[in-house]
């Protein structure tokens, strides 16, 4: 039997590796498997890129769609899969090299991290609504368990809050799926997209509202995101980098995938989604100004960026969508860098409060320099990739003669500068009481430096992968192509 590189490996391989965890423990290969699995899949994703550019790959399981289950790999979902696996590689190398806390290195976290990556990959690959729900719960359950991993008061509180709010969101999504099935008798996304227009308008509105609430909670949109800073504050900073880097991106992708697919004309939802994005961005950035804990500050900053991405995706023009996808990649890299720095600082200082971090720049010069680099990338200053992606988004808006989003994005960047520089100023405050000893966790900085290098590379040479984003944007917006490729000849 010929060994074929089909999309199902993106889901099957991490699942198999996760379930064989006792074997890896016995062989002493746990950390290397955690590192190698996403690395292999990242390589596979990059190698599939030229093939997917011609036509989306469909993996049919048992029966052909619309009756059977299928996986749908086009440029957009391949981009997300590659991003998730890259994030997985970076996270694993941080755990491996960084001599992290024991509760992050055992068998439990190994399984949970791989399941989280599997769930998120499944979310973007699946072409079937009920599988979407299953993958959503796989990603959700592993995220709840990961945030409670430390088993102390704050971690358990974060895990419980996450579980309660996440389950309620999942119920809303399940109800929307049930109503969609009862109305159309279909679960296949492409078939649903074809039949969605025939549902009565009131029912369409109800289904849309339920999906918006459910996915809005999961994708951390205002006003459904009040819980986010609590969870980010209670979980380990390293784990939080996965939430902010992978989980949110997967749900944002699902939300917009459904919007672009179900609505024949995305302009119906444009005003609503753009308003949600703008509100999320402004509220989060304003609240971030007065945070006293670094994890909460980074959580609000993450929400601000999610709002920016929503604003750009909601506009649904090709240029802004490509820019938003680029910004997703940037934001994943930047937030992983910042949360890794937070993890290192937490290990040294046992606190991440602003007052306790005075003079940290003298005790941990490399970590602080990386934090400065990361915050400059969030702000979007020229040599870094954040500049290029924000420029893409702004250019997209300017071409379409929409000027209020540009003003809002620039205003948000200004507020961001305010709070990031507040923290940086405190870091470089001279404080005689600050410990002067040199840190000895040299290898831990390797993944951080790698991320910083990637940010610089993408900022200097965006043309390396810019085509990919444009192609992905076309695939995400190309409703007709998806219908045609799944259902055969359709109008």
């Amino acid at each position: 039997m010929a060994f074929q590189l089909t999309p199902v490996w993106f889901i099957a391989l991490p699942l198999l590796v996760a379930f064989a965890a006792p074997l890896w423990v016995r062989l002493g290969l746990l950390m290397s498997m955690l590192f190698a699995t996403p690395l292999v899949l990242f390589g596979l994703a990059v190698s599939l890129f030229p093939a997917v550019g011609d036509a989306p790959l469909l993996e049919t399981i048992v029966i052909a769609p619309p009756l059977g289950i299928h996986l749908h790999l086009d440029s957009a979902s391949l981009l997300m899969v590659a991003l998730f696996n890259l994030a997985g590689v970076l996270f694993a190398s941080f755990l491996w090299l960084g001599d992290t806390e024991p509760h992050l290195r055992g068998r439990g976290p190994f399984v949970l991290i791989l399941l989280l990556i599997t769930g998120c990959t499944g979310l973007v690959l699946t072409g079937d609504l009920f599988n979407l729900y299953v993958f959503l719960e796989i990603a959700g359950v592993s995220a709840y368990a990961l945030s409670a991993l430390r088993r102390d008061k704050t971690a358990l509180e974060a895990g419980l809050k996450y579980l309660i709010i996440g389950s309620v969101a999942a119920i809303f999504i399940l109800l929307a799926i049930v109503l969609l099935y009862l109305e159309t008798g279909q679960l296949n996304l492409a078939a649903l997209a074809r039949d969605f227009g025939d549902i009565p308008a009131a029912m369409q509105g109800l289904i849309g509202l339920l999906l918006l609430v459910g996915l809005g909670v999961k994708a951390e949109l205002f006003p459904f995101n009040v819980w986010v800073p609590d969870i980010y504050r209670g979980s380990d900073p390293a784990v939080t980098s996965l939430f902010s880097g992978i989980l949110v991106k997967a749900f944002l992708f699902v939300l917009f995938h459904l919007v672009f697919l179900l609505l024949a004309d995305p302009a119906v939802a444009r005003a609503w989604l753009m308003a949600l994005g703008a509100l999320t961005m402004l509220v989060a950035e304003l609240v971030a100004l007065r945070q006293q804990d670094m994890r909460r500050m980074l959580a609000y900053s993450s929400l601000g960026q999610v709002g920016l991405i929503t604003l750009a995706l909601g506009f649904a023009s090709e240029a802004t969508t490509a820019g938003a996808l680029f910004h997703m990649v940037n934001h994943t890299l930047v937030k992983m860098l910042l949360f890794f720095v937070a993890a290192l600082m937490l290990r040294r200082f046992l606190s991440l409060r602003l007052a306790d971090l005075r003079g940290v720049g003298h005790a941990m010069p490399v970590a602080t320099a990386l934090f400065v680099l990361g915050s400059l990338a969030v702000l979007g200053l020229p040599p870094l990739s954040g500049f290029v992606s924000k420029l893409c988004i702004l250019k997209g808006f300017a071409e379409a003669q929409a000027f209020w989003p540009i003003a809002l994005i620039l205003l948000a960047a200004l507020i961001e500068a305010g709070y990031y520089f507040r923290w940086i100023k405190v870091f470089y405050d001279s404080d005689p009481a600050a410990p002067q000893c040199r840190s000895d966790d040299g290898p831990a900085y390797l993944p951080l430096v790698l991320i910083a290098g990637l940010l610089l590379l993408l900022g200097v040479a965006p043309f390396l992968i810019e085509d990919w984003f444009v192609q992905a944007a076309r695939a995400l917006l190309g409703r007709g192509t998806i219908l045609e490729s799944v259902l055969g000849v359709q109008s």
Binding site: R151, T154, S167, D293
Partner: protein
């Protein structure tokens, strides 16, 4: 006398009313009760109401189980099997999430002696 109950419209109407009532009971439990386990029970009740709605509305009176046996050799007059398969899956998932939630709640109670949701303020910024 009760034949009118056999018409799908009436029956489905009753099911819709019943499952919506259940849904809002669950929502009330989640929002109004302070005990952690009661909130989790509220979530479970909400989930159950969705399952009930799905199964009830996908089946009309008089349909049999979709199994070919005992002289049944044709797929006529049978209920749609998909909702039942999906509901089974969803029940298993919901059960797992609930078990995780209860175990976290027990650990939290053992560690802090607290089971009140509103006293969970450790994560707030002072």
């Amino acid at each position: 006398m009760l034949e009118f109950l056999d018409s799908p419209r009436v029956l489905h109407g009753i099911y819709i009313l019943g499952s919506l009532t259940l849904f809002f009971i669950g929502l009330y439990g989640l929002l109004a009760k302070r005990h952690l386990l009661k909130a989790l029970i509220g979530i479970a009740v909400m989930e159950l109401s969705v399952y009930l709605l799905f199964i009830a509305l996908a089946t009309s009176p008089g349909e049999t189980a979709p199994i070919l046996a005992d002289g049944l050799i044709d797929f006529t007059g049978m209920a749609d099997p998909i909702p039942q398969a999906l509901t089974l899956t969803a029940i298993v998932i919901g059960m797992a999430v609930l078990a995780l939630g209860v175990s976290l709640a027990i650990q939290y109670h053992r560690l802090t002696g607290n089971s009140d949701m509103r006293a969970m303020t450790e994560l707030k910024d002072s």
